[in-house]
Symmetry: none
Subunit: 401 residues, 2 copies
């Protein structure tokens, strides 16, 4: 998985328009009893029809066997090697809700969780409402810790962002590697014995006081922190690809990712109609559209096979409206697989479809993991999807010297 | 083919158990007359059935077009990049029979061979018996060379190990690159003209005297040396993967390899029953099992198509007993292909099957090279097999920052 080092030499700007539809957690695996995956079961006639007239294949998100989080999964899709650009989840979430991190700040992604007898029993606190999240964040903002300023912001449902502002002598001791080593997967955070423990102690002080202030809650009586990260810069898609890109999502993290890559970003309500409407409304003014559909991933993570099937069927209904826009190139893929059978993200290759208005289809007859193995694209690393999309849209000139 | 540099961050220890079944020389190629490979011809109903409920694919051992020896082939399977860890065959054989090399020693793998009119006519001396090997090794131990102590040990059949103990001023002149350059493929050894010739002369003195002392033998009247190597350290599987691994084989080299990677090793008689019994007996105490089955490779090297078919059919009979142990993950693959048509190891991709008790199968309907090309895993480098095995067993956490 490497970058094409001569991209500068062949990239060019054209009138053609690319739509990148990311179905979060798209890929599944067969249920052992039925032998069928979510895509095998779903009634998705429009996607099936589209697959007949498109180039199909499968994409490996990060590395064989590696299960990516959403951030590395998406970075790969946009052609940013996720092993090179280690963008922290906390930073992305903060960017998504409009926070610009200063050089003394560290952002962290938080979950409210259910904590019983010293164990985390539900990592999402039963997916509490946005209003509940707002109320609980107010409580967390009452917590104070000596030596560190803390601001907590609600994100969505059980998700929040905490910003830790440290004095400059402390922040200078904390490397990115240090931040990556912090593990709060069992509520309190820990780090290798050899590391400086000061920051970890401050965070644990915050966690301890948070548990106290949440102690009357039935479900959301704990917090889980991850993705400790500071601000970072990535190459802008406008410069890298000579595109005028726009990202459309209902979730702050993906809005954050779009902003980070230099896309205009549009946050919409959680509705396929709103997502597609935003594409329609902005059609004239951009040449690259990233539309992010989350529901398939959420249902997969909940182990809700039938729910994931329904979310795919819901997406399918909007395919004709999307195709009516006459994009030159339409790409449909996922950032990773989220098989309902595993109730989690997984390492499995993700279906990849590239529709090019000038090119006919391959052997593929329906939209599924198994069927896409027969496709013309074969098996590629996700980091190559962007190159294939640009090529199909005529934005890559012949490579020669 | 690179290592995943963040393995430390995602590897975790769990209760799940992995069985890695290595069928040495598993892959074949079609016979020109019939169009069928050994696997196509073999009656292997249990492997066929298992392939229907597993994820299948093909694995490339080292590099496209490169035919691996058994050591690089196996290192790749265990996730050790064989282009990075150049472990000498002599060292492996020595480790396998329990010899720890001191810093002044060089180990070499030997074959008794048949030598007529200045030419090697049978590289394995008609596969002589273990007893014959013992007798001949006694003869070789009578050979003495000024400036070098020599100890020869029997291994198995035509195989032996010689340990050359040099004085410290000489050993310091011999680099690993120097050892890799020594070529004894036509009995006497040679090395580039530019290299120091002292060690080569001592070895040729040993070879010359060995030919004299073996001159009354009809079949085993010559020796072939290869894999000149000194001791080396590799990362331990216990640390690298947080596993408690065990290796089970009937051949010293594979026992040596298992030891070298930090596995407990169990040497058993040449019998599938004994191999499987050793897996059963140690089931409770380990979470990773490497079981090595040699016969397919031996028959392939002899150009014995029907013999290789029979060895695969013999393996197949033990599949139900193996599956009855209820491993969470069962992997079946080979270290390289050994097509009977070529009477040698080859560069061809090797079938790879991963059974995961939670996940259904892909499109594959039978266990063969051709059929596995339709599998969900696609085509991977063998060095990634270990990552896929760990992922399937739930031992790799999500990758994100």
């Amino acid at each position: 998985m490497i970058d094409f080092e001569y991209l500068d030499k062949i990239i060019c700007s054209t009138e053609s328009k690319i739509l990148m539809l990311v179905i979060d957690g798209l890929g599944g695996v067969p249920d052992k009893k039925t032998g069928k995956s979510e895509l095998d079961v779903a009634k998705i006639p429009n996607l099936d029809q589209l697959s007949k007239i498109s180039s199909c294949g499968v994409a490996n998100p990060v590395f064989p066997g590696v299960t990516p989080g959403s951030a590395p999964g998406h970075l790969a899709i946009f052609g940013y090697n996720p092993l090179k650009y280690l963008v922290g989840r906390g930073f992305l979430e903060a960017t998504g809700i409009g926070i610009n991190l200063s050089t003394t700040q560290i952002a962290v992604r938080g979950n409210f969780c259910t904590y019983e007898e010293g164990k985390v029993v539900d990592r999402r606190a039963g997916r509490i409402s946005n209003q509940k999240c707002l109320d609980l964040v107010k409580l967390l903002n009452q917590v104070s810790v000596d030596g560190m300023k803390i601001d907590v912001y609600p994100v969505e449902g059980h998700r929040f962002v905490a910003i830790f502002d440290l004095d400059s002598s402390l922040i200078s001791k904390i490397s990115n590697d240090h931040l990556n080593e912090i593990d709060c997967s069992e509520i309190f955070c820990s780090i290798k014995e050899s590391e400086d423990q000061i920051f970890t102690k401050l965070v644990n002080d915050f966690i301890g006081k948070s548990l106290q202030i949440l102690s009357d809650e039935k479900r959301a009586n704990g917090i889980l922190l991850r993705g400790f990260s500071r601000g970072t810069n990535l190459p802008d898609m406008k410069n890298k690809y000579k595109l005028n890109p726009i990202g459309i999502s209902s979730y702050p993290m993906y809005i954050g990712l779009a902003k980070l890559l230099g896309m205009k970003s549009v946050s919409v309500e959680k509705s396929l109609d709103k997502l597609v409407s935003a594409v329609e409304e902005n059609f004239e003014n951009h040449d690259f559209f990233f539309m992010h559909y989350k529901d398939a991933d959420s249902k997969g993570e909940d182990g809700d096979f039938d729910g994931k099937v329904k979310s795919l069927e819901a997406f399918d209904q909007f395919v004709p409206r999307i195709m009516d826009l006459n994009f030159d190139v339409v790409v449909i893929t996922g950032d990773h697989s989220t098989p309902a059978v595993l109730s989690a993200h997984s390492w499995h290759p993700v279906p990849l479809l590239i529709y090019n208005e000038n090119i006919g289809g391959d052997k593929v007859q329906s939209f599924s993991e198994k069927e896409f193995l027969n496709g013309q694209i074969g098996s590629v690393d996700s980091v190559n999807i962007m190159m294939l999309s640009l090529a199909n849209s005529g934005k890559l000139k012949k490579f020669e010297f």
